[in-house]
């Protein structure tokens, strides 16, 4: 029998599993480093955004609004096709980490800011009165409390981040989606290719999403 899911197409998929394995590994690597970057940017700009200094707030707004209000595809296209014209040729791996990391950093910074603002103002003032500097008060007093609020939305961002690495398929990124496109467009066995790819993304994302839900439930109980 023939059709998009014909048996021999699955056999071909099993035979070429290494193609998908390579893509999967690249997706995991890009996701990991992009997540580290996103967390770093998120915490930094989350703290800056909740500070009283006007200039810090402006910088944060510019970052968050310019990133949140343009599509990720445009940002990645700019990094990949635009920067070389300005003399900056980033390797594709860096394009992935920077593109996706900066994008989700903006969202995480909003989650962090919300978490910080949920901590009563008096906590910071009390810390100051005990001789803490702004940054050490943040580190030891405010952020640990903000974490409880911010962690569930941040984990959801991590899930989105993994899925969004798939935009790299448009710029020959070598990750899972690209490999699936590449493999299936040559032999046109798109049925098994995209089902298998979907399952692989589920394997990556479902544990994280489940973890996020657990955190949310825990946060509700504690609140």
């Amino acid at each position: 029998m023939n059709g998009p899911f014909a048996d021999y197409k699955w056999v071909a998929l099993a035979h070429d599993w290494a193609v998908f394995g390579e893509g999967f590994a690249n997706t995991v690597l890009v996701s990991f480093f992009a997540l580290v970057l996103a967390l770093a940017l998120g915490v930094l700009f989350g703290v800056l955004g909740s500070s009283k200094l006007k200039s810090f707030q402006v910088i944060t707004r510019v970052y968050v609004e310019s990133i949140q209000n343009t599509p990720l595809v445009i940002q990645v296209f700019f990094l990949y096709h635009g920067l070389p014209h300005l003399g900056v040729m980033l390797p594709i791996f860096a394009v992935g980490v920077l593109g996706v990391g900066i994008y989700h950093g903006a969202y995480i910074s909003e989650a962090v800011r919300a978490g910080i603002q949920a901590v009563p103002r008096g906590q910071l003032e009390a810390a100051y009165s005990q001789g803490f500097s702004f940054w050490s008060a943040m580190r030891h007093i405010i952020l640990p409390q903000a974490k409880r609020m911010a962690l569930p939305p941040m984990t959801n961002q991590a899930v989105s981040l993994i899925k969004n690495t798939s935009v790299l398929a448009m710029v020959a990124g070598g990750e899972l989606m690209y490999q699936a496109d590449s493999w299936s467009s040559t032999n046109l066995y798109y049925g098994p290719a995209y089902v298998a790819t979907g399952v692989l993304y589920i394997i990556l994302c479902l544990p994280l999403a489940t973890y996020a839900r657990k955190l949310e439930q825990k946060a509700e109980v504690n609140a």
Partner: protein, 270 residues
């Protein structure tokens, strides 16, 4: 445990989806028994739906000024429409890409694909192909400033190719022969490859020669080498055998009476 059962549920859903996908394919298969069910469907509809390229000048190209799609492959589609429906205007063309042309055929959204679709043995398993209406070799475009003259100069270079194109395989073989290592970057559309060539992401832009000619500009040049002649065929869904036979007849007839050569000349292809 909960997580595991959730995962199991997902797998069951996906398998279910596939069974549905297969099931919906069956009626089309049994329709094969009824001599020209596929032809009847087109006649009842009164219009032939054809997927064509919109980004390949001279073959299938959407003129940005007039918004009309025209080219050699649209003319072939007109000939098929004339044969089946008696009127070359009873034609509905829509743009397809390398990625969409297979699924669109399978789900019946279009009857035929005439879109620089290279015939390969692997693809013949999934679709019917007519006899070839055009033959072309894989060619390479480079920046004039790159100094690349042939495959021998391409050691360590990045070659931009189109997804679903057979040029990657052909070029890999050439590179192996010349003993050079090359890297491939696959893109979804031709303009994207040209963008990558312009930005320096790719050193070489390699697709079928006739397609490449449409992207030539002052800063680029097309190398003289041609590899692995590619044969373009008209594709139809595997179960639509009567339609495939009719299309084959049209192409054979056009070849015989010189109509095809005339069209190729009309469009100034080589």
């Amino acid at each position: 445990m909960k997580r595991f059962s959730a995962f199991l549920l997902c797998i069951v859903m996906i398998v279910g989806l596939m069974v549905v996908g297969c099931g919906s394919n069956k009626p089309a298969q049994s329709a094969q028994g009824d001599v020209a069910a596929d032809m009847k469907a087109i006649k009842d509809r009164g219009v032939l739906k054809v997927g064509v390229k919109v980004d390949v000048p001279k073959f299938g190209f959407k003129d940005p000024q007039t918004n009309k799609i025209d080219g050699l492959e649209i003319d072939i589609a007109r000939a098929v429409a004339k044969k089946i429906l008696g009127d070359s205007a009873k034609l509905d063309v829509q743009g397809v890409t390398a990625k969409t042309r297979g699924p669109l055929l399978d789900n019946g959204e279009i009857d035929l694909v005439i879109a620089t679709f290279t015939i390969t043995d692997e693809r013949k398993q999934s679709y019917n192909f007519s006899e070839p209406y055009f033959k072309d070799g894989v060619a390479m475009m480079v920046k004039k400033s790159s100094g690349i003259q042939s495959v021998k100069d391409m050691n360590g270079k990045k070659i931009g190719v189109a997804q679903s194109a057979t040029s990657r395989k052909a070029l890999q073989e050439e590179a192996d022969k010349a003993g050079v290592k090359v890297q491939f970057l696959e893109f979804g559309t031709y303009p994207e490859i040209k963008t990558a060539l312009d930005s320096g992401r790719a050193d070489v832009f390699s697709v079928d020669g006739s397609i490449l000619a449409g992207y030539l500009d002052d800063s680029t040049t097309i190398l003289n080498d041609r590899f692995a002649p590619q044969e373009y065929g008209v594709a139809s869904k595997k179960s639509n055998t009567a339609l495939a036979k009719t299309v084959d007849e049209v192409i054979a007839e056009m070849k015989k009476n010189g109509e095809l050569d005339k069209l190729i000349q009309k469009w100034g292809i080589k």
